[in-house]
Subunit: 160 residues, 2 copies
DNA sequence: ACCTGAACACCGTTCAAGT
DNA sequence: ACCTGAACACCGTTCAAGT
């Protein structure tokens, strides 16, 4: 609170007019963070679901790199806020378009999102600080590959 | 520091005889946490590598559930401490025994560990608080399955 | 060797008071 | 409506002083 207030050229107490408390302010930051994840066309022009998912995953990772201090908070709350639900529903839509049966979409979304978040948070939080950027890019590509294979296997390999 | 001191019936300043500072104390807690991950026989009696990995993953998850406040710290530091290296090397050993080429073992370890950690931390930190225990058990089993398939695919499907 | 008291610089938060 | 001063209860940490 003190740091934010100072950045605004104001006393800490002034903030309590605009946010309820520190947790509320952090919630707002997280909500803002999720804004960076691109909306995905709910009824896309066939077949590009895989690349939609990869785009969202890359956006998540880029956001983590840009805001390493706030990003790890994403692991602490379920998708209850509007932006969080929007992102989750986008992923579910893309999965269904990729051929994942509707009954399994929610679970597959949880597993895929958790894997991507786990990587992004690890990177942001410093667990990979001893590795080169090239190595991490390679790891991330490999992760997207294995998740793609998983989605395909759940989709049964059927074309749409 | 205050809470720990109170638990010990001592003033906070007394702790500075035994730990350098708060970060040092937390490092010690994390080290203790990793103790709960079972050692894996480095030269096991053939073929059981998959179940060794599943055992370690389950132990990690159980530890996360038992110590939700400390566990998320595992995402913040690379495997530089003795226990962290021991766990990482155990996973690498099991992967090689499962047929993963030695050159790829480190990367596969990173991806597999990150996925398991991501799930365990999410659960510990409360991201899945709206889901039933049964649902989470099912999700975790599914995660182990997809990671097993991934390891197999890297191993080339060859028997050892 | 181990612990304590006093002190310091910092937090988040409240509430009455200002404009 | 929005901001501030003063105050409160809390942190982690230091250092000289105790035993």
């Amino acid at each position: 609170m003190s740091a934010v207030a100072q950045q605004l050229g104001v006393t800490p107490m002034a903030l309590y007019r605009h946010v309820a408390n520190k947790a509320d302010l952090l919630d707002g930051l997280v909500e803002l963070l999720l804004t960076a994840v691109p909306a995905v066309p709910a009824v896309a022009a066939g077949g590009a679901a895989g690349s939609d998912l990869a785009d969202m995953a890359s956006a998540i990772r880029a956001t983590a790199r840009q805001h390493p201090a706030v990003f790890p908070l994403l692991l602490r709350r379920p998708a209850t806020t509007p932006e969080a639900r929007r992102v989750r529903d986008s992923v579910c839509d893309a999965l269904r378009r990729a051929g994942v049966p509707a009954v399994r979409a929610a679970q597959v979304e949880r597993l895929v999102s958790t894997a991507v978040l786990g990587f992004a948070v690890s990177e942001a939080a410093g667990r990979f600080r001893d590795h080169s950027r090239r190595q991490l890019d390679d790891d991330f590509a490999c992760l997207l590959g294995l998740l793609g294979d998983f989605v395909e296997s759940v989709a049964g390999g059927l074309p749409n």
